[in-house]
């Protein structure tokens, strides 16, 4: 059966609506937390499943994407130039994000190289990516998750799936004060509201001497 990629419309990608298309932009009030949040719309999200020991998997990833397959837990590999990130999700699962326009080609390429022992699942419409950055980005995360997001425990590139308020997110650190959140579509509105609520707080008293 021929697989048809269903993520990207060749004619007009703008016809789609990202999960937070209607939420607008987040503007914490003046004096609120120092934070900006943006939705990275219309990316390709591919779940790759398979045995991490299978050589053809690492080879396919390398050949097609130029990325090393992260085999250690919670690691990610990134090709900033191409906008591709491959994250370890579980011992047999990875999440690849990439520019939407490359999705069809990459998905087809992977399918061509990996047999039925591997699974490729397009979840581009099922989740969305947020970038959270600013001096108080870590602070907002600490209001929202019991995971230790301190740089010591959570350095750049580390990726975890964690509880976030009463929902969950996949979290990756981009830099000291910026993070990537991948959230499920149907929870995106809730998470957005939560962050907005948390960021509307006067943070001046909180910033001193945090660790």
């Amino acid at each position: 059966m021929k697989h048809l990629s269903m993520n990207h419309l060749p004619d007009s990608p703008r016809e789609g609506h990202s999960p937070l298309a209607q939420a607008g932009s987040l503007q914490p009030p003046v004096g609120g937390l120092a934070l900006s949040i943006t939705e990275k719309v219309m990316l390709g999200h591919l779940v790759i499943r398979g045995d991490s020991d299978a050589p053809e998997l690492a080879r396919a990833i390398h050949d097609l994407l130029g990325l090393r397959l992260p085999s250690a837990p919670l690691q990610s590999c990134e090709d900033e130039h191409q906008g591709r990130v491959l994250r370890w999700v579980s011992p047999d699962e990875w999440l690849l994000t990439l520019p939407g326009e490359n999705l069809t080609e990459v998905e087809a390429g992977l399918r061509a190289r990996l047999d039925e022992r591997f699974a490729i699942v397009d979840v581009s419409g099922g989740q969305t990516m947020l970038h959270l950055s600013g001096e108080d980005a870590e602070l907002v995360l600490r209001k929202s998750t019991s995971y230790d997001v301190h740089l010591v425990n959570f350095p750049e590139g580390k990726t975890v799936i964690i509880t976030f308020a009463r929902s969950q997110v996949m979290l990756r650190r981009l830099s000291a004060d910026s993070f990537e959140l991948i959230v499920r579509r149907s929870f995106a509105d809730y998470i957005w509201r939560w962050i907005h609520d948390a960021a509307s707080e006067d943070g001046s008293a909180l910033r001193k001497g945090d660790n």
């Binding site: 581009s124 230790d148 308020a165």
Partner: protein, 1032 residues
């Protein structure tokens, strides 16, 4: 009124910042830095409360969390009311309004006080168990009165305008308590590079350093403290949290701490003090009122210190009776001397400090007192229960010209609303009885010290019992499996030098345990001047010339009016376990949780039972160490963030159409789409007929969808579903039924063969997450050999269901897929483009009509929907909601798992034996369970249809059914689904009825409240039983 008791020298108050507040309607002045308690004491306010049972006047007895009496209602407006605020913990702010929570009509003339005096004798512990039983009907009245009397403050009557924050921390080392031990530990551990958090319940860090005089490293304590805090501030890896109380110590070193934020900043912007912008909207950032810190610590150091025990003697609850150490706190921290003439009663050297401080303050203030014509503040006498104690401290008192009365005790305080004097008498060396003559001494304050109780509470929260330490005369933390260390007075050690040394050592050991090595140099251990001490004696309950039962009341637990006599009586009545004593007398059940009285209560119990304190033991301490507001525990999980709301991509459209929504799990689903002027039934009739006659559109995106891939996917499905899956051709779908191992139906849905090794499973909306975990459970724990992967794609696909005879025509106009019956038969799926969008279309039907479920990547879901609706106008397309869907499926007899089943229904019960594969080699999940004796026996409830005899009569869902209206208790089933069908022009229902499959045509009765209705049992398919309409 001037602050009559204010003196100079308070270390924590700003004498230039007077702030006004109101107590019981009267205005007072305090200083910034005051607690409400210190401000009230500064103003000479003696009586703050009337006691719970006897209505006795009560004043402030302590300076910290242990205060049992000064429980006030704070708040200027209805919305900002806070019940039960402990005055010793409330920081004074300008405009604070507070009032007593007891005393009616007034504190001075209290009705309960009168009742207490007249009938107090009739209220021994547990009197309510022995009375109010006759006559039975009067209990409601007794209870009404009882409830009115009980309770302290009142809840606000309107919603809380404030917000509450939560903040998570992870650290290598958490230090609870920032007194000398905690700060020293922090300094040592901080140097190691470990992540350290140190917190203290007091707004200022320092603990006893804030009110003690002993020099450390040759420096006055305040200087040493300032230096230490500066050092700690310089360390990036140390976080200090003042005004933050650790309230709960949970398993695996998880500590919950509570911070009162609003206190800390002046001019704070809580909602209670709203700043509204010109648009009338408050969009300025706000401070939370309180914040919960959730701290996961690799190591914990408890440096919580100790609380002083006041002594138990007659009338020890009179205002003016105070903890000895509290007087030092009020003098040094707040510049408040809460009286003029002090008598100190002590069993140990520590108590003497209060007398020294009082004396020094009296001398310092002598001149100004004289100028104002006030009586001089002085220490009248120190009464020491020890026969011949001697030490430098005692000598210092003596040399100040203060009378020291050894081997004696205060046996009774005298006064009505304030101490006027005390009776003292010589006692025997064990403190068991009065041996000498009674002398009365005039005074207005009686400070007492009966030794110290280490603050062991947190160490008990994870199940460790405190141990009685005979030498120190106190309970100390017991064994624990938590990574916990103790330092300072919590260990029972009270000398400053040892406390500091313990602090340093615990800091080192804990840092080491957390993986940070360092060695201690001499500089790390602060040196305190050594002061020689005479040993204290263990005395809790001072004797009286009368027996305990006849002496004036000797209170152990102030808040709940539990006296020594009450405890003795409880033990006499056979309540011998300390837990029984606690429960029978209510000892320690107050809001202070018995911090002052527990040990005395245990000691008295032990004495009556002739046991040691160690044998008697103590009751368990539970979180919270000190009370915290409900709101703080909840944090942001309230209002619109109480629980996530899940939306599909079509939500905005549904809202624009004015849909009514139904909660399904966390999802919001359109329930129906009312048009102006329509009743709900009107809408349903319109929507139903549209689907049956034209075409309707349903947002089915919430259905759970699980992508399953792998070479063994068919085998897996074959095991997990009741029906057969090995041979389903690619391109087709099949309805699947899933059971638990007990054979009961747990889920159902259509699963499609997308490829030989690739299936897409649909689950119920509510069951999606559980079913995914169910599949993983079987795969990972039982059938690891099967090569399959499961991924949730619920959110990936947006599903628009077109249903109705015109659906084919409508869709054909938008798609390149050949929709003809031959090219695309029922229970098949196809891929193509719909409205230019790549789509997977399933030809399945939950309504019984020709239907197409169009799945597109969710980002294009709204776009597709809009195209379908606009293109569908020519077919009079009608959006329909879940209720219409339910009616239509019920007309076809399709069940809804969770509505027509309840966890006790097998496939056979549903008449779905056709979905049970008998041929499968593998004994599928549920097969054996449904074969059990009672799952196959007669009398099982089976799914049937019901046609009410009166076709207009709508049976209520949940109606019980009987065969004989004369025997209504003999219920044979109940109605699971019931609707009016516009298609059928009548009401109908589905029901589970005992042996229903064998009762077709029988009449069954539904006894309502007023009348009995009749219905006929029928097959549960009411429309198009041959399935021709969906199969065209």
């Amino acid at each position: 009124m001037k602050q009559v008791n204010r003196i100079v020298g308070g270390r924590c108050v700003d004498y230039d910042a007077e702030i006004g507040f109101t107590f019981n309607g009267k205005s007072y002045q305090g200083l910034r830095g005051d607690t409400l308690a210190s401000a009230l004491l500064a103003n000479g306010v003696d009586v703050l409360a009337r006691s719970f049972k006897y209505g006795r006047p009560r004043g402030i007895i302590a300076a910290g969390v242990e205060e049992p009496n000064a429980i006030l209602q704070v708040g200027a407006t209805e919305a900002t009311q806070v019940p039960n605020v402990r005055a010793t913990q409330q920081i004074l702010y300008a405009g604070l309004v507070c009032r007593s929570t007891s005393g009616s009509p007034s504190l001075r003339w209290s009705l309960t006080g009168l009742v207490g005096r007249l009938f107090g004798r009739l209220m021994p512990p547990g009197f309510y168990y022995k009375t109010f039983m006759f006559p039975g009907f009067m209990w409601r009245f007794y209870e009404y009165v009882m409830r009115r009397v009980a309770g302290l403050g009142k809840a606000p009557t309107v919603k809380d305008p404030d917000i509450y924050d939560h903040l998570n921390h992870h650290c290598d080392l958490l230090i609870i308590g920032a007194g000398p031990a905690g700060l020293t530990a922090a300094r040592v551990a901080g140097k190691s590079g470990a992540r350290v958090v140190i917190l203290d319940e007091q707004a200022q860090l320092g603990g006893c350093l804030l009110h003690m005089n002993n020099r450390i490293d040759g420096l006055p304590p305040a200087t040493w403290l300032a230096q230490t805090l500066e050092q700690l501030t310089g360390l990036d890896n140390v976080l200090m949290l003042p005004g933050t109380a650790a309230v709960g110590y949970h398993d695996h070193n998880f500590i919950v701490a509570h911070e009162i934020v609003a206190h800390k900043t002046s001019g704070h912007k809580m909602a209670g003090h709203k700043i509204v912008n010109h648009a009338g909207r408050d969009d300025s950032p706000r401070l939370p009122r309180e914040r919960i810190h959730k701290i996961r610590a690799a190591q914990v150091i408890l440096a919580t210190g100790a609380q002083e025990r006041p002594l138990v003697f007659s009338n020890n609850d009179l205002p003016g009776c105070i903890q000895a150490s509290a007087t030092s706190v009020y003098i040094h921290r707040y510049g408040v001397l809460p009286g003029r003439r002090l008598v100190l009663m002590t069993t140990n050297d520590h108590g003497y400090q209060a007398a020294l401080d009082w004396h020094a303050a009296g001398v310092a203030g002598q001149e100004s007192d004289e100028k104002r014509g006030r009586a001089r503040r002085q220490v009248v006498a120190v009464v020491d229960a020890r026969p011949q104690a001697d030490s430098p401290l005692i000598q210092a008192i003596r040399s100040a010209g203060i009378r020291v009365i050894s081997g004696s005790a205060v046996i009774e305080a005298i006064g009505k609303r304030r101490v006027r004097g005390v009776k003292i008498a010589a006692i025997d060396s064990l403190g068991g009885s009065v041996t000498g003559k009674v002398e009365t001494i005039s005074c207005d304050t009686l400070a007492s010290s009966g030794g110290w109780s280490p603050v062991v509470h947190l160490s008990c929260h994870t199940g460790s019992k405190p141990i009685w330490h005979d030498e120190y005369g106190c309970f100390v933390p017991g064994e624990t499996i938590q990574a916990q260390h103790c330092a300072g007075a919590i260990t029972g050690v009270m000398t400053l030098g040892s406390v500091l040394a313990q602090g340093a050592e615990s800091g080192r050991v804990a840092a080491l345990a957390a993986g940070f090595s360092l060695s201690l140099s001499d500089d790390d251990i602060p040196q305190a001047e050594a002061i020689e001490e005479a040993p204290g004696i263990q005395l809790f309950h001072l004797p009286h010339i009368k027996s305990t039962s006849r002496a004036p009341k000797q209170f152990v637990d102030f808040q709940l009016d539990v006296s020594a006599a009450d405890i003795e009586l409880a033990a006499r009545e056979g309540f011998e376990s300390i837990e029984h004593v606690k429960r029978y007398t209510a000892l320690g059940f107050g809001t202070d949780q018995g911090k002052l009285g527990n040990v005395a209560g245990v000691a008295i119990t032990a004495r009556v039972l002739g046991k040691s304190i160690a044998e008697t033991g103590t009751t368990m301490f539970r979180p919270n160490y000190t009370p915290i507001s409900f709101g703080s525990v909840v944090g942001r999980d309230c209002g619109e963030l109480f629980d996530p709301v899940r939306y599909t991509a079509i939500q905005s459209w549904h809202e624009q159409q004015g849909a009514k929504f139904e909660n399904v799990g966390q999802w919001k689903r359109p329930w129906y789409y009312p048009r102006p002027g329509e009743s709900m039934q009107d809408s349903l009739n319109r929507e139903c007929l549209a689907v049956r006659q034209q075409v309707g559109i349903l947002d089915a995106s919430t259905l759970g969808k699980i992508d399953i891939q792998g070479p063994d996917v068919r085998e897996f499905l074959n095991r997990i579903y009741t029906n057969a899956w090995l041979k389903l051709p690619v391109g087709q779908c099949r309805y699947g039924l899933m059971c638990g191992e007990d054979g009961m139906v747990i889920d159902d849905g259509v699963t499609a063969a997308l490829g030989d090794n690739h299936f897409l499973m649909h689950t119920t909306t509510g069951g999606a997450a559980q079913i995914l975990e169910w599949l993983e459970l079987w795969h990972q724990t039982e059938w690891q050999e099967l090569r399959v992967y499961f991924n949730s794609v619920t959110d990936q696909w947006n599903t628009a269901t077109l249903s109705g005879p015109k659906s084919r025509d409508l869709l054909q106009g938008l798609t390149d897929i050949d929709l003809s019956g031959e090219a695309f038969p029922f229970m098949h799926w196809r891929v193509g483009r719909v409205a230019g969008i790549p789509a997977r279309v399933f030809r399945v039907s939950f309504t019984g009509e020709l239907s197409y479920e169009i799945n597109v990547q969710a980002n294009y879901g709204l776009r597709l929907w809009q195209m379908l609706v606009s293109h569908g106008e020519q077919y009079e397309i009608t959006p329909y909601g879940t209720e219409t869907m339910h009616i239509l499926r019920a007309e076809k007899g399709f069940v809804i798992v969770g509505q027509d089943t309840d966890g006790s229904v097998t496939p056979d019960d549903l008449g779905m034996g056709w979905a049970l594969s008998k041929q499968k080699r593998f004994s599928f999940i549920g097969k054996r369970g449904m074969a059990r004796g009672d799952c196959q026996s007669r009398g099982r409830k089976q799914l049937v249809g019901l046609l009410p005899v009166d076709p207009e009569y709508l049976l209520s869902e949940g109606s019980q059914l009987v065969c004989d209206p004369a025997q209504i208790a003999n219920m044979v089933g109940h109605v699971t689904s019931s609707y009016y069908s516009a298609t059928l022009g009548r009401c109908f229902a589905l029901a589970l009825v005992k042996d229903g499959h064998r009762r077709m045509g029988e009449t069954i009765y539904s006894p309502g409240v007023k009348s009995v209705s009749r219905a006929t049992i029928c097959e549960p398919v009411f429309y198009d039983p041959e399935g021709e309409r969906q199969n065209v």
